[in-house]
């Protein structure tokens, strides 16, 4: 874990707090913000093994998402599908160590892992009536509400970056997980596109 006094979010250098202060969300088609410091724990195991799935459920209070490319959502934790034997458990900052401790204790004797990858990703939230129009300029997925519903996620390419998209609500609000080293590029790209749709920045 990074020492608190050295800790800055991936997009802190863009001065988003100051930008937000001088930006009005009234009438904005798209609102962008950074979601800083979310806990992300990578978990791998055999989905069909009841010992594994109940180990995850005991630690998080959540069942593994039953369908591919969906997210199960609880009060504290979310479980994001990444592959047939791989998930992210995401949640509040500072909770990674205790979660991993609980998972590893429950995984004893199993072929399963839990690993803190919180610092690998930046998260950009993109919301508003025109959020889909922004994303559609850079992804090949069908984002029509009929095809990509609330609670669904997808790993795909957005412009030149690999991302995980999660449709959080039908505002719509998308959360975009991207490797930190691509986050500055992706923010700039999104901003350039969103400028066509009346962009506001939120802290």
């Amino acid at each position: 874990m990074v020492e608190t006094y050295q800790r800055r979010s991936a997009l802190a250098h863009l001065g988003l707090v100051a930008r937000a202060a001088s930006s009005s969300t009234a009438g904005a088609g798209v609102i962008m913000s950074e979601v800083p410091h979310r806990t992300i724990v990578n978990v791998r195991g055999t989905a069909s093994d009841v010992a594994f799935s109940s180990a995850v459920q005991t630690a998080t209070g959540l069942a593994l998402p039953s369908a591919a490319n969906t997210v199960s959502n609880g009060g504290v934790w979310q479980i994001v599908w990444l592959g047939p034997n791989e998930w992210w458990i995401t949640g509040p900052d500072g909770e990674a160590e205790s979660l991993i401790e609980a998972l590893r204790a429950n995984f004893a004797g199993q072929h399963a892992i839990a690993c803190d990858v919180s610092e690998s990703r930046a998260i950009i939230a993109l919301k508003g009536a025109k959020a889909r129009d922004v994303l559609m300029r850079g992804v090949s997925l069908d984002l029509h509400p009929r095809a990509f519903r609330v609670g669904q996620c997808a790993q795909t390419g957005l412009s030149r970056a690999n991302v995980l998209l999660h449709l959080v609500d039908d505002t719509p609000t998308f959360e975009i997980y991207v490797l930190k080293s691509f986050s500055d590029y992706l923010w700039q790209w999104l901003e350039k596109v969103a400028a066509d749709f009346n962009l506001a920045v939120e802290a």
């Binding site: 591919a68 490319n69 990444l82 090949s140 790993q155 795909t156 390419g157």
Partner: protein
């Protein structure tokens, strides 16, 4: 551009995938007993058919899983998609190639 049905994620654009060449090639377990010619056969010689090709793809930008595809090398039609470890399906084609 192909639309490739990942067995886990469904249809995705070709640019999300990487190609992993011919499938169903078993690595010899008796490598130390093979002649150079036999080793070269395993390592380098591939079918290159005109028609159905059984090959592997990896969903690189998505779930990052390998899987098998039966694809027509002339028309690019994808006849079947199946998980690693599954046997190659027999493909009946109308044009009889």
């Amino acid at each position: 551009m192909l639309l490739i049905p990942c067995p886990y994620c469904g249809k995705r654009d070709e640019h999300e995938f990487t190609y992993a060449r011919e499938g169903h090639i078993a690595r010899p377990t008796n490598g130390e007993q093979l002649t150079d010619a036999e080793w070269a056969q395993y390592l380098f010689m591939r079918k290159n058919p005109k028609g159905v090709h059984y090959e592997r793809w990896m969903h690189a930008k998505g779930c990052r899983r390998y899987f098998n595809v039966a694809r027509d090398t002339v028309t690019h039609e994808i006849y079947a998609v199946y998980e690693m470890g599954q046997p190659a399906p027999v493909i009946e084609r109308e044009n009889g190639r």
